[in-house]
Every structure is written in C-alpha cells, then in structure tokens.
Symmetry: C2
Subunit: 339 residues, 2 copies
DNA sequence: AAAAATTGTGTAAACGTTTACAATATTCTT
DNA sequence: AAGAATATTGTAAACGTTTACACAATTTTT
C-alpha cells in the first residue's frame, strides 16, 4: 500500500480529481453526496496529500524556515517557543535548523531551506543580515534577528545588548557601588562586544573618571571564578561586578564566597540572560533579561505580515523592531548602602 | 526578480534544463565548460531549487518530521539536540512541531507533516503508537518514542520509567532508609504512573511489609512542598522520599529545610529527570537521568535506517530500543548511616 | 579510415497537486 | 414549461524538478 494519490481517491469515489481536491481543501462547492464519498474513500485509502506537489501547484508551503545558531538550550529554546506559538496561530509549520556558528553550514542550510519554505527567520551570531541578500533573491521574505542594531533594509528584529548592559551598570550605580568591573565574553562574540560597549558607556555616564576594569572570559562558570582571582590579585577588588552572562556571574559568586567575600554586601553582582539557575543560587543573582519568547513571537508575526499583507511587501513600508532587555533585580545587588 | 527556475538558468547559460539539473545535483557527466556556464548563470540569477518540485520528482524530501509534546524546555530541548546532531550527520532536515498534549492537534500535525517528510519521529505522551497506524499508510516510516515499554510492530524507542524509579528506590534502600514515601505525578500522566509502578515494585522488593506512602502531586515545586506538609501532619515522616520529578524534589527539599528537618541526614531525597537546578540546590539533589540526547540521536538513526536500509524495511527484522535511565548520586541521599 | 564504444547533451514524460475554464445539472424566473 | 441564472462537476494545463531515452559528438578500437 504505497501512499495513495488524489487520483486513487478519485477512482475509488467515482469522481474527478478536481472534486477530490475540492473536498480535501474544504471548499464548499461540492454536494454532500460527493463530499462523503470522497471522505470515506480518502480515509479508506489513508490518503495523505503530497506536500511537495501541493506547494508546487500553489507556490506556497505554509512552512517557514527557522535558522538559529543552535536549536536547543535554555536560550534558543525560548525563541523557538515564541516562534512555535505564533506559528500555530498563523497556521504555519516550522522547519528548524542550527547553523552551529559555521558560515558554510549556515549558507548551506539557508540554500536548502529556502527552496522549501515561504520565508525565513534567521539569527546570525556573526554576519550581517545583508550577507544573506547575496545568496537569496531580493524579494525572498526574510526576517533577521540580530544582536546588532541595524538600520538597513527592513526585516530586522534587533536586541539591544548594549542598552541592556547599560541598565546593569546604572543599577550597580544605583545600589551604591563605587568601583565596578566587567567580566566580558570572548572578543570574537558580537553580543559580548555589545555588552562590553554598554559597560563602557555606563562607566562613562555613572562612574566618571574610573578606568575600565575588564576581565575577558568565555561565558563559562570557570571564567567567572578566574576573573575573581585576577581581581583579587591586583589589589582591592571592585564592589560591583557586571558579568556578560549568568554562568560567569555564578562562577564569580561562588568564588567570592569561597574566599570569604560577602555578596552583595562587599560586592554586588549582576549577570545577563536570566537563566533559571540565577533564581536558585544563594543569594539569587540579579540579571538582565532578554525576552526571547517575545522575540521569537514577534519575529514570526513580522514575517507573517510580510507574507500576507500586501502593504507590508515593500521594504520601505516596514521598520525594524528593537528589543530592550529588562532589569531583573534580585538579592545579589541588594547592598546595604554605605554612603 | 521572482525566484528563477531551472528553465531560466538554462536559458541564461544556453544549455538544456537537463544539463542544469545535472550541474546543480553535482553529477559528473558534464563538461567543465557547461558546468561553469551553468554555475555562473545560477549564481547570477540567485537560483534556488524548488524543494517541492524536487521532492515531487524524486519522491524524497530529505526531511523528517519531529513531533513532540512540546518543542522547548530543558527536556525536549535535549531530545531535539540529539535529533539535530544525528540529522545533520545524515544530511536530513527536520521539521518540528509540538502537539501540546492535544489529541486533535496531534492528529492534525501528523497529517500535515506526513505529506512533506520522508518519515516521522514522534513522541506521544498519551496514545499508543498504534493509533497512528489508523491515520498513516502502513508503510509510512515512523519511529515512536514512548514512555511505555512496547512490544508491538517495531519502530519504537522506549524509556523504562519504571526501571528508573526502581533504581531510585533501591538507592534509597542502599543508603539506609527504613521507611520511604513517593511524591507521584498526576494520575492522568503515563510516565507518572510508570514511575509510581517502579516505586511500588521497589517497595515490594526492598521494603517488605511497608505500606505504600504516596502523595499525588502535579509535577510542580508547590506540590513537593504540599507533600511534606501532609507527611508531617500524618505522624512521623518517612526518612526517604522519591519524587516523580525534580521540581517536586526541590519543593520537598526547601519545605523540609524550612521546618528544620535536615536533608539528607533526617530525610534523603531523590528526584527524577536531572534538570540543571538539581546541581545547584543545597544540598544538590540525587536524581534519575534519562539521556534524552541519546534518545533523540538513536531515534533519528533508527529512522534513517528504516529509510535507507532495505534490510530494515520489514518490521519483523527490527527490534525496539529500550533506554534504562541512570542513577545520579548527589548529596541529598548521602545519609550518615545509622544502623 | 571505418566501426565501435564512450561521452555529453537535449527532448519529453513523469511526479501529485491546484485551478481556470468548459460542460453539465440543477434551481429559479417568468 | 421554457429560458435564464446558478450550482456542481470534469477536463486539462500549469507548477519546477528529475531522468529514461535518443541523439550527436567525441574517442577508441580495429
């Protein structure tokens, strides 16, 4: 019993393929008699429409491609959740792929997805969304989720990492820190740089005259611990630390406690990302939260508009969306003010 | 510039569509001259093959459908990671969808995916894999990931929840517990029942004569707390608790500590799932870990074999795979033995 | 130098749908 | 009860590929 086709169903129900197609697609211009004959023939033959043929005929796949650096883990999982929710509301399927930070793989994934989807939602950790334009037809609907604030030709959802970092620094200032440090992510990472820029901006705005104290980490817990050791070795440690991600904040926290320094009283700590662990550490760690669920949801809606809405089609009618992360205050920055 | 087709490229390169197709598909029976003309025409026109047409002609989509109860969160994320890794090794794309525990939605998702993929990997929290057979042609390649040990017609990866629970109980016995309790999941949940069965089996084997002490929770932290309150109200609490998932174990742990009961010295606690938080609680919680990454990976490989391997085609040549969860020992069960 | 084998290329028929359009059957007017 | 309007059905042409087959252009064999 190899997959029945429309024709098979038509033969079985003694009608034409057109009628079967109409029934299957739920059109109303068929008699009840025909409809029921078709329906029972279809279920008898276990007919499943061939998606490829369908999208060939309609030039619509009702599928959108999602390309993320990775498709698992706390962070991306949240984006996917947002995308998924929105997609099911719009009656779309999603086809996901991970680019694993590899450029060739990314290009490959895009090329092979592009032919099977109506549009794409992509998040590139490195390249500018424009580089996609060199591969894809200029009218291919694509929404880029980017960590860089991008002002180019539409289709861009950006996350203001720099602004988020700035919030963190302001907060450290607000709780009374006098001298702060940053545990950055790797130089090669775009978001890490944006967060560092935010740190520098905040320093300039709130801690005038202080030289930047930065330890370059690699987003691991271990890096957070290492940062503390370095800070301690070089004289009096700062009284506030902004880590470029939560794992490093966790590392810093545990290391500080190991050497007998109190958090938040001696040193306030704030991270970035709001991973679940931050709620369970002792003390819970303040952080900067990017609503990735929202990002995914809005991203897909945006793409959907591009697909459906004629108005939306021309790039100049559109404008990007910028997400400003929010500050989550927990105990790790609740200093007893000493002024 | 609306998506160029093979024909457009052929015209531009002054060759036939067949030659273009050959070049695009990397066949070697073309002269270098033709090849380069086609390639440059293709990139000039930003040609992207139409996946639908392709799969119509080849009856292969190189895509497999993945249907999970949800497609985000710690747990499913791990499965997806395994699937993704394996898929990229096999050169397959994945199309994911969440069934959200809703039967109609599940059926809908299956129907609409089935027409666009070469096979499916599905995890149904409730129904038996067999129910799919009523919808799908009998030769449709499908691998079910199931929580129930299933002996039917192949294509089944099962997770031995019962066996895992049994391990937990044995462990509680091994560390010297004398009287244990279970915080179960909701009755309506299949896995919850399997775990409860494991608990009962273990009780029978290691704690002969003890009446089962069970609190029915709902997998939330709050339920774990509530369980403790009930246990306390009803006389002397047990000295070992097996929670059907980690969140309830966390709730139980914190509640016990709030009322001044020491873990693990007074009460040992073990959870199920190995969510990351268990490593960061105080004390870290012992748990039972299902290698979902492995499950996903093996699941996809299994499906791939069904697709490729002629030998594998007939159901009787296949056998299912059973995953037995592993015990992760942490501090929450490190009792100081008092015997 | 002709015949045979090999290689490269093009033509055209699938693949399974959808959907104008034409044809027919039904219902409504008068 | 005939004609007009409408509702239902069927026919056939797309949609963009792949690929068997035929043909032409080579190269190898005699």
């Amino acid at each position: 019993m190899k997959g029945a086709t429309l024709k098979d169903v038509a033969r079985e129900a003694l009608v034409s393929v057109a009628s079967v197609s109409r029934v299957i697609n739920g059109l109303d211009n068929v008699t009840d008699d025909v409809r029921s004959r078709v329906l029972s023939a279809a279920s008898k033959l276990k007919y499943i429409p061939h998606g490829g043929a369908r999208s060939l005929a309609t030039s619509r796949s009702n599928t959108i491609g999602v390309l993320l650096p990775d498709i698992y883990g706390e962070f991306f999982s949240e984006i996917i959740r947002g995308i998924d929710q929105s997609a099911r509301e719009c009656g779309l399927h999603i086809m996901v792929s991970g680019s694993h930070g590899d450029l060739d793989e990314t290009v490959g994934a895009i090329r092979s997805m592009a032919g099977r989807v109506d549009g794409m939602l992509v998040m590139l950790p490195f390249a500018s969304p424009n580089s996609l334009r060199e591969i894809l037809p200029s009218d291919f609907p694509i929404v880029a989720i980017s960590s860089q604030l991008n002002d180019d030709n539409g289709g861009v959802i950006s996350i203001d990492n720099c602004g988020g970092a700035l919030k963190a620094v302001r907060h450290l200032h607000d709780v009374g820190c006098k001298r702060i440090a940053h545990i950055s992510g790797p130089k090669s990472n775009f978001e890490a740089n944006e967060r560092e820029n935010g740190f520098l901006k905040g320093l300039e705005a709130c801690f005038v005259g202080q030289d930047p104290l930065i330890f370059e980490g690699d987003f691991t817990e271990e890096a957070g611990r290492a940062a503390i050791d370095i800070f301690l070795k070089n004289g009096t440690p700062p009284d506030g630390i902004f880590a470029a991600n939560d794992m490093m904040a966790v590392g810093a926290l545990t290391r500080l406690q190991e050497v007998g320094i109190k958090v938040p009283d001696d040193v306030a700590i704030i991270g970035f990302d709001d991973i679940p662990i931050t709620r369970f550490t002792n003390p819970p760690i303040s952080t900067i939260r990017v609503g990735m669920f929202e990002v995914g949801k809005r991203g897909l809606n945006y793409l959907y508009s591009m697909l459906e809405d004629k108005e939306f089609q021309s790039a100049d009618k559109r404008s990007g969306i910028v997400f400003l992360p929010e500050l989550i205050i927990r105990t790790s920055t609740q200093k007893i003010r000493k002024m």
